[in-house]
C-alpha cells in the first residue's frame, strides 16, 4: 500500500515536471537562439547554450529591424491606455458606488456586458469612424479602443475595492468641508492603490500583446507597436534567425519581468475578470 502510494507520487511529479518543460522549453529556446548564428541554430548546436554569445543580433534587431521604435511605441500606447483607463474607471466607479442615484445598479450591469463583447464587433465601425476622422495611423487609434475594451474589467476591480472603503471617511471629510472633488482626490483615490496596480497590470498585458487592432488601424511603420513590428521584422529577416530571436526576446522580457515580481497579483487579476464576469 505505502509503496504504491509512493510510486503514484513519483508518477505525479514526473508528469508535472514534463509539462513544466513543455512550457519552459520554447522560452528557453527563444533566449538561446537569440544569441546564436545561423550555423549553430540550423544544426551545429540546436538546443544547447550558445557557444559564442552573439549580442550583435540585438543591435541588428534594434537598428535595422527598428525594434527600438516599436518598443517605444508600445510603451507610449500602453502608458496612455493605462492612464486613461484608470482615470475613467475610477471616476465612473465613484459614481457607481458612492454617488446616490436610481439607475446606478442597472448601469453597473450594463458596463459588465463589456466583459463578454468580442473585439470583432467593433472592428468595421471603429475603422470607418477613425478613417472619417482622419485618425487612422495615429496613436489614438489604438489608445482609445484599448482603453474602452479594458474599461469593464477596470470598473469590476475598482468596484470591489471601493466598496471596502468605509463610508465614515466620506462623512468625516464632508464635515471638514471637503467638496466631492476633494473627497474623490484626497480620500478615495489614495486608498485605491491596490486596485490601481491590478488594473494597470491587466491593461498593460492586454495592450502590449494586442494584434488585430494594431495590425489594421496602423500601417505607418514609424507608429507600429511590437506585435505588428515583430511580424514585419520576421518578414524582413527570413533567412537570418538570430535577429528574429532577439526581437522576440525584446518583445517578451518586459512581460516576464513584471510576472516574476508580481505573479500572484497577475494571476488574481485574471481570476477576478473571469469568475465575476
Amino acid at each position: 500500500m505505502r509503496n504504491s502510494r509512493k510510486s503514484t507520487q513519483v508518477l505525479i511529479y514526473v508528469g508535472l515536471i514534463l509539462w513544466a518543460l513543455v512550457n519552459l522549453f520554447p522560452i528557453y529556446w527563444m533566449f538561446t537562439f537569440s544569441l546564436k548564428n545561423n550555423a549553430e541554430i540550423f544544426g551545429a548546436n540546436v538546443i544547447g547554450l550558445p557557444k559564442e554569445w552573439l549580442w550583435s543580433n540585438y543591435t541588428k534587431a534594434l537598428n535595422t529591424g527598428k525594434m527600438g521604435v516599436y518598443f517605444l511605441n508600445s510603451v507610449i500606447v500602453a502608458a496612455a491606455t493605462i492612464a486613461i483607463t484608470l482615470a475613467v474607471a475610477l471616476m465612473g466607479t465613484f459614481a457607481l458606488t458612492r454617488l446616490i442615484w436610481k439607475q446606478k445598479k442597472t448601469l453597473n450591469k450594463f458596463f459588465m456586458l463589456g466583459l463578454t463583447i468580442p473585439i470583432h464587433a467593433s472592428i468595421v465601425p471603429v475603422y470607418v469612424t477613425l478613417s472619417r476622422l482622419h485618425m487612422l495611423n495615429t496613436r489614438w487609434a489604438l489608445i482609445i479602443p484599448y482603453a474602452a475594451f479594458s474599461l469593464s474589467m477596470a470598473i469590476l476591480v475598482c468596484t470591489g475595492f471601493m466598496n471596502e472603503i468605509p463610508r465614515d471617511l466620506d462623512e468625516a471629510a464632508c464635515i471638514d468641508g471637503c467638496s466631492v472633488w476633494g473627497i474623490f482626490f484626497r480620500i478615495i483615490v489614495p486608498l485605491m492603490k491596490p486596485a490601481v496596480a491590478t488594473v494597470a497590470i491587466y491593461t498593460f498585458l492586454q495592450c502590449w500583446n494586442e494584434l488585430m487592432f494594431a495590425n489594421i488601424f496602423i500601417s505607418k511603420s514609424s507608429l507600429r507597436t511590437l506585435p505588428v513590428g515583430v511580424q514585419a521584422l520576421s518578414g524582413q529577416y527570413t533567412t537570418d534567425w538570430g535577429p528574429i530571436g532577439a526581437a522576440l526576446v525584446l518583445a517578451t522580457f518586459p512581460t516576464l519581468l513584471v510576472y516574476i515580481f508580481l505573479s500572484k497579483k497577475i494571476q488574481e487579476s485574471f481570476i477576478a475578470g473571469a469568475i465575476k464576469g
Binding site: N23, P26, W29, F111, P118, A148, D170, S234, Q267
Partner: protein, 292 residues
C-alpha cells in the same frame, strides 16, 4: 453629504467619460455592424441596401467558404473542451491539494498565457520550419525521416499544426481558473470525507467537482467562444492557408474587409460571430443547469 452626493451635475461629470467611451467603442458598433450587414458596401462609396443577401451568400457560397471556416473553429472548440480542459482540470486538481512546489508549477504553467501570441506564433513557425525546424530535425535525428512534413504548408497537416500551439498556450489559463475553484473548496468538507475513508479520487469526484461546477461552466464557455473568435495564432502561422485549409471566421472576416473591400460581408461575419458566441454561451449554461 447625501445632498452633495445626489447632485445631478456631479453624477453626470463622474459617469460621463466612462459611458461615452463604452458606448462609442463597444455598444454603438454592435448596432452599426448589424446595420452594415444589410448593405453591399466597399467602405467608401455608396451603400446599396440588399436585405439579407449577405447572410444568404455567406451560408451558401463555396467561394467564401464560411461553413468550412466555421467547421474548423468548431473542431477547435471540441478539441479545446475534450483535450485542453481535462488536462487543465487534472493539473488544477493535482496542484490544489497542497503539493510541494505548488506555486512554482502554477506560475510556470500560466506563463504562456502572458506571452504575446505573435511571439508564440513566431516561435512555432521556427519549430515547424521544414528545413531547419526543431521538429523535423528531431525526426531526422531519430531516423523517422519519412514522418517529416512541411507542417504548415501541406493541407493534411496544417490544421493540426495550428491547433497544437493554440491549445497549448491556454491550458494554463483554464488551469488557473479551475485551481482557484479547487482552492475555494472548504477544507472541512475535504477532511470530513477523508475521515470517512474516501480516497483522493473519490474526494475529487464527489466533493471537489460538484463544488467547482460553476467554474467548469465558465471554462467551457471560454473554451468554446475563444475557439470561435480565434485569430492571432492562425494569422501568424498560416493566415488561413494553404488553400483555405486553416481558415476560421476571423481570418475570413479580415480577408473580406481589407483584401476584398467587402465591408458589408465583413460586418455580416462579425454579426454571425457575436450571435454564435452568445448562443453557445446560453446553450452551455442551459446544459449545465439541465444536469442538476
Amino acid at each position: 453629504m447625501n445632498k452633495m452626493y445626489s447632485n445631478k451635475l456631479h453624477i453626470l461629470i463622474f459617469i460621463f467619460p466612462a459611458l461615452l467611451l463604452f458606448c462609442a467603442i463597444l455598444i454603438a458598433p454592435i448596432g452599426a455592424s448589424a446595420y452594415y450587414s444589410f448593405f453591399d458596401w466597399d467602405g467608401f462609396g455608396e451603400k446599396t441596401f440588399i436585405g439579407l443577401a449577405n447572410y444568404k451568400e455567406l451560408f451558401t457560397s463555396d467561394a467564401i467558404g464560411f461553413l468550412k471556416a466555421l467547421r474548423n473553429s468548431l473542431l477547435l472548440a471540441v478539441l479545446s473542451v475534450f483535450l485542453q480542459l481535462p488536462l487543465a482540470l487534472a493539473l488544477a486538481l493535482t496542484l490544489g491539494k497542497k503539493i510541494k512546489g505548488e506555486r512554482f508549477f502554477l506560475s510556470v504553467y500560466f506563463m504562456p498565457v502572458l506571452i504575446s501570441t505573435v511571439v508564440i506564433g513566431q516561435l512555432w513557425l521556427k519549430i515547424y520550419n521544414p528545413n531547419y525546424g526543431i521538429l523535423n530535425v528531431f525526426l531526422k535525428a531519430i531516423g523517422l525521416e519519412k514522418w517529416t512534413h512541411i507542417w504548415l504548408g501541406e493541407k493534411a497537416t496544417a490544421l493540426g499544426a495550428v491547433f497544437i500551439p493554440t491549445l497549448w498556450q491556454y491550458v494554463g489559463y483554464h488551469m488557473l481558473l479551475l485551481y482557484a475553484g479547487v482552492k475555494s473548496v472548504p477544507p472541512e468538507l475535504r477532511e470530513a470525507a477523508m475521515l470517512d475513508g474516501a480516497t483522493d479520487g473519490q474526494v475529487n469526484r464527489y466533493i471537489v467537482l460538484p463544488y467547482i461546477k460553476p467554474i467548469i461552466r465558465i471554462s467551457v464557455i471560454f473554451a468554446v467562444t475563444g475557439s470561435l473568435k480565434s485569430f492571432d495564432l492562425i494569422y501568424v502561422l498560416t493566415n488561413g492557408g494553404p488553400l483555405h485549409a486553416t481558415e476560421v471566421p476571423s481570418t475570413l472576416m479580415i480577408d473580406m474587409l481589407f483584401l476584398r473591400n467587402r465591408y458589408g460581408m465583413g460586418s455580416t461575419i462579425a454579426v454571425m460571430l457575436i450571435l454564435l458566441c452568445f448562443a453557445f454561451a446560453l446553450l452551455i449554461s442551459a446544459a449545465f443547469r439541465g444536469e442538476d
